[in-house]
């Protein structure tokens, strides 16, 4: 049996902690599901062929290029986008993720278009490591090495990773 490109499926996915449902053509990619159907436009598409990393989101905690994943593939999964990095405090205010704070503090962004991809990738990487250990330069390079930025020259992005890791280490101690 063949499936026509315009046949539709209903996708149920938890995005930033909220259960969402959308009926989409089977060929729709995840970045479009997020941006168009769920109106979460913080995820940006820079190349649409999986190289630049701007569109990176977390699927079940793992960074993926949302331009290369079909929406139907995330049925039942948990997706985290840049909009879901900050958490709410007790009074309903917003507490930025240490990586978000670090990007602002270290001037790690200029135009901001690639920034969401860096933020979610770095956040996932820092959360997966032992926060009490001092971050190494190899770890920093690894966390920033897969995404393109045309504005910053990366120096301040690397600085932000070190800054965020230091914050998370202080918090963990």
């Amino acid at each position: 049996m063949t499936t026509s490109v315009d046949s539709e499926r209903t996708v149920t996915v938890t995005v930033n902690g909220v259960l969402r449902e959308a009926t989409v053509p089977v060929r729709r990619v995840l970045s479009d599901l997020l941006r168009e159907d769920l109106r979460l436009t913080g995820t940006h598409v820079g190349c649409a062929h999986g190289v630049c990393g701007s569109c990176t989101v977390l699927v079940d905690g793992v960074p993926v290029r949302s331009c290369l994943v079909l929406a139907v593939q995330v049925d039942g999964a948990e997706v985290t986008t840049v909009e879901g990095l900050a958490r709410e405090d007790d009074r309903g205010g917003q507490v930025l993720h240490p990586v978000q704070e670090a990007f602002r503090e270290c001037h790690a962004l200029q135009c901001g278009f690639c920034t969401p991809g860096f933020l979610v990738t770095i956040a996932a990487g820092l959360e997966a490591r032992d926060a009490t250990a001092e971050i190494t330069e190899e770890e920093v390079d690894e966390l920033v090495g897969g995404n393109l930025c045309r504005c910053t020259g990366y120096a301040n992005i690397k600085k932000a990773v070190r800054h965020a890791a230091a914050t998370m280490r202080d918090d963990a101690r």
């Binding site: 315009d6 053509p25 060929r27 729709r28 941006r35 168009e36 109106r39 979460l40 436009t41 913080g42 995820t43 940006h44 598409v45 820079g46 190349c47 649409a48 062929h49 190289v51 630049c52 701007s54 986008t81 840049v82 909009e83 990095l85 900050a86 917003q94 930025l96 978000q100 990007f103 602002r104 503090e105 001037h107 962004l109 200029q110 135009c111 901001g112 278009f113 690639c114 920034t115 969401p116 933020l119 390079d141 920033v144 090495g145 897969g146 995404n147 393109l148 930025c149 045309r150 504005c151 910053t152 020259g153 990366y154 120096a155 301040n156 992005i157 690397k158």
Partner: protein, 807 residues
């Protein structure tokens, strides 16, 4: 004073929204808008013989298809030549949709509008365009030979012959103790912002008005172009640049075909229409820059001082010349850099090729000029056996020579007169910062590890902040909020922060009270655009002047209330107060309320300004020549550009087994006059250097002989990742500009300018072979090393060369 913010590394106000996903980029707008997609030419040069849309018509969701036949009035005419010049003798521009002949791959032929982009592309795929292929011209050398022509009526492929000279170069060369002649090449790269172009248009049929968002660097001029092309009155069109995901020059070109076609479709369909460029479209239908062939003859004395310089450049301008000859002019005039050149002649022949148009990319002709001049310095040093830094030093313009008149005409039509600078100071700092004099030890260390090490440097002067003008408007609201607007656009530089710093400092208010808007014609209709490192210089000074106007008015009103002399008042933290008299003060927000005499008290604060509360009945509520409101609009229009400067040095290590080139040290000394925000300036420098390294070692547009771009993706066009960008050491020098009130010079483009020249110099130093074409890849370096006929530098004997890879 607590509100002094000028010169401080204030954290950016833009960031709060951009790090939380709340930025508003073009493609984030217009939910539910119809989507446009384009059928583009697959041929570099061809005649369109037929467009068959039949098969597309039954695609469900198709709304409209437009070809050239559907264009009427000015839309059916060629696109504008934006910057005419007398020496641009054969300007050619394309059409919004191809009219008969296409001149490069990617040229738009058909526009499809449908319910979403997927459907629009489905329909576009089904449209069959027939072509009769024509001979193709690729590269400057093929253009020069002119065996084929790009435009039928331009038989030599030459669009412009730009010529400037400061004296009689031939006798000066004949009299020179030494001369050198050589030819070198530099290849194409491109801006490649992570966000491509994009346009969204909404037509209000009831109001007869059009609102366009465009990812542009020039919203006011896009507005004027749309009004002209679509035959609308200017007041019926508004153009807004939302958050823009990088520009670097490509978005200064306008109107792009899509900037006209999307609004046209929105009007005709009465629906919102949007187009967001995809990456392949950006590669093949936006703009590139940099390809030149440079023929250089230099005369110099025994000390290495240049006596005459004769440069002939062949510049590839692509298929059309919408942006005139700005890039050739900048190459021609900025080539001389920080040096005193007694006699200089330059000819730039700008030639057509069947490739994407060439328009400014960050640096805009300066990297090529710097490459020409700095490689000349290296040649002189090599010929005389002198240190490369010393040869440069001997040719530098000295601090006592300012203002220094090069007797050339710049891109703004005004003289190239350097306003201020300290070039020997830059060179001294660079030599210290990079460890120029310790290169021998580095080389020995590298050799011990089996590597070849080289060091190179390059200096530049950058004309920044060209006119004609920019404007600023500052308004204090009754709430105390200070609204600032300027028409010039932002692409991530941090203008909201920098302009807020300037206004907060000038006005004496907390920066948090200041809100800055850029690039929105609804707020400010007069502007030129963001290019040529001009935003801080032009709009920075304009908003400063506007803030000074507001301050003067505030002091005048407050002086009445406080019964004081305005000269005795100051504004600090948003309070107008009598200097040295605590308590004698009035909030600026109250002054704003009082500045607007009222009949109606629409809120509590407004009561203070109503007619039975204010009592002076001896004069009209609004004095002749005055105006209600605490606001001021002002413009900054410079007599000419201000000239920033800098010096870069690179240390490269080369592995003689793989010929991999690794930049192991990179040093920058930078002078942009007074610095508004050092954090932002350093960010600009770092980003520029990364692009410079990319342009020197990785990025090139690989066209084949048929005019097909072989690497039109991020997989194949190698932009630097973090792993390719070296650590950068930065030192500053501040030589204020005497030309503008704030003493500032531009900083946006500087970082990229000397990269190619400095890295070429370092590679040449490492391998002892003349580097005459940039960028250079490991493969090309390997081929060069195997080439017995490759020219060796005089210093090459000192470099033990071995290639670990058998020939």
């Amino acid at each position: 004073m607590t509100t002094k913010l000028f010169g401080e590394p204030v954290r950016r106000r833009e960031d709060a929204r951009l790090i939380t996903g709340k930025g508003r980029y073009l493609d984030d707008l217009g939910a539910g808008a119809l989507a446009a997609a384009f059928v583009r030419s697959p041929h570099a040069h061809a005649r369109v013989t037929d467009v068959d849309v039949e098969a597309a018509l039954d695609v469900e969701g198709l709304v409209a298809i437009y070809t050239y036949e559907d264009l009427t009035g000015p839309m059916a005419e060629p696109m504008p030549v934006l910057i005419p010049h007398p020496q641009l003798h054969a300007p050619r521009t394309g059409y919004a949709l191809a009219n008969g002949v296409v001149h490069h791959v990617g040229e738009p032929v058909v526009m499809v509008v449908a319910t979403d982009r997927y459907v629009a592309e489905d329909a576009a795929d089904r449209i069959a365009v027939s072509y009769e292929e024509l001979p193709v011209v690729v590269g400057v050398d093929a253009a020069r030979e002119a065996r084929a022509t790009v435009h039928d009526d331009v038989p030599d492929n030459v669009a412009a012959r730009h010529h400037q000279e400061t004296g009689d170069v031939e006798p000066a060369l004949a009299a020179a103790p030494h001369t050198l002649s050589f030819t070198q090449y530099i290849e194409r790269s491109a801006c490649m912002p992570l966000e491509g172009k994009g346009v969204h248009a909404r037509w209000d049929a009831d109001d007869g008005s059009l609102r366009v968002h465009s990812s542009t660097q020039a919203s006011t001029s896009v507005r004027a172009a749309i009004a002209a092309k679509l035959e609308l009155s200017l007041d019926r069109v508004e153009v807004i640049a939302p958050d823009v995901g990088g520009g670097f020059g490509v978005k200064i070109v306008h109107p792009w075909p899509e900037e006209l076609l999307v609004p046209m479709a929105a009007i005709r369909l009465g629906r919102e229409v949007k187009w967001a460029e995809d990456r392949r479209e950006h590669f093949i239908s936006s703009a590139h820059e940099r390809q030149q062939r440079q023929e250089i003859t230099v005369g110099f004395d025994d000390d290495g001082r240049i006596t005459a310089l004769d440069v002939h450049v062949w510049h590839d301008n692509g298929a059309y010349t919408p942006y005139g000859i700005i890039v050739p002019i900048i190459t021609a005039t900025q080539l001389v850099g920080p040096y005193a050149i007694p006699v200089y002649r330059v000819v730039v022949e700008s030639v057509y090729t069947n490739t994407v148009i060439v328009t400014p990319y960050r640096g805009a002709g300066r990297p090529q000029g710097c490459y020409a001049m700095e490689r000349t310095m290296d040649r002189i040093a090599d010929a005389l056996g002198l240190d490369r830094a010393e040869v440069r030093r001997r040719n530098l313009i000295t601090p006592d020579q300012f203002p220094y008149d090069h007797r050339l005409t710049f891109q703004d039509g005004r003289p190239v007169i350097y306003d201020s600078g300290d070039y020997p100071g830059l060179l001294d700092k660079l030599v210290a910062l990079v460890g120029w004099d310790e290169a021998g030890a580095l080389r020995a260390d590298a050799q011990a590890r089996g590597k070849l090490l080289g060091i190179g440097m390059a200096l530049y002067v950058e004309g920044t902040g060209p006119g004609p003008y920019e404007g600023g408007h500052v308004q204090v609201l009754g709430s105390g909020k200070v609204l600032v607007s300027t028409g010039l656009t932002s692409q991530g530089q941090g203008h909201e922060t920098v302009f807020a710093q300037i206004v907060a400092s000038e006005l004496g208010v907390p920066i948090d009270d200041v809100e800055v808007h850029t690039g929105d014609t609804r707020r400010f209709g007069y502007a030129v655009g963001t290019f040529a490192s001009r935003a801080a210089v032009m709009s920075g000074n304009a908003v400063a002047l506007a803030a000074r106007g507001v301050r003067e008015k505030a002091l005048r009103i407050a002086a009445d209330v406080l019964e004081a002399d305005p000269a005795d008042l100051e504004i600090d933290e948003g309070q107008v107060q009598v200097k040295g008299t605590p308590g004698a003060s009035i909030p600026l927000r109250t002054v704003a309320v009082l500045s607007n005499p009222l009949r109606y008290a629409f809120d509590q604060a407004a009561q203070q300004a109503t007619q039975f509360v204010t009592h002076d009945d001896s004069k009209p509520p609004v004095a002749p020549g005055d105006a209600p409101g605490l606001e001021h609009r002002d413009y900054y229009s410079p007599i000419r550009s201000t000239f920033a400067s800098g010096a870069h040095a690179a240390v490269v290590e080369i592995d003689p087994r793989t010929w991999e080139i690794d930049v192991v040290r990179y040093a920058v000394v930078h002078d942009c006059g007074n610095v508004v925000n050092p954090m932002i300036v350093e960010g600009q420098v770092q980003g520029g250097v990364a692009q410079g390294v990319g342009g020197a070692l990785y990025e090139r547009m690989a066209y084949d002989g048929d005019g097909q771009l072989q690497n039109a993706s991020f997989m194949d066009f190698l932009m630097p990742y973090a792993s390719e960008v070296p650590d950068i050491a930065i030192d500053h020098q501040e030589t204020p500009s005497p030309l503008n009130p704030l003493g500032i010079k531009g900083a946006g483009e500087a970082g990229v300018i000397p990269g190619t020249a400095a890295i070429a110099s370092a590679i040449e130093d490492a391998v002892g072979r003349r580097i005459t074409s940039m960028p250079i890849s490991p493969t090309e370096l390997y081929d060069l090393m195997r080439d017995e006929t490759a020219e060796r530098t005089a210093g090459s004997q000192q470099v033990p060369l071995q290639t670990g890879v058998p020939a």
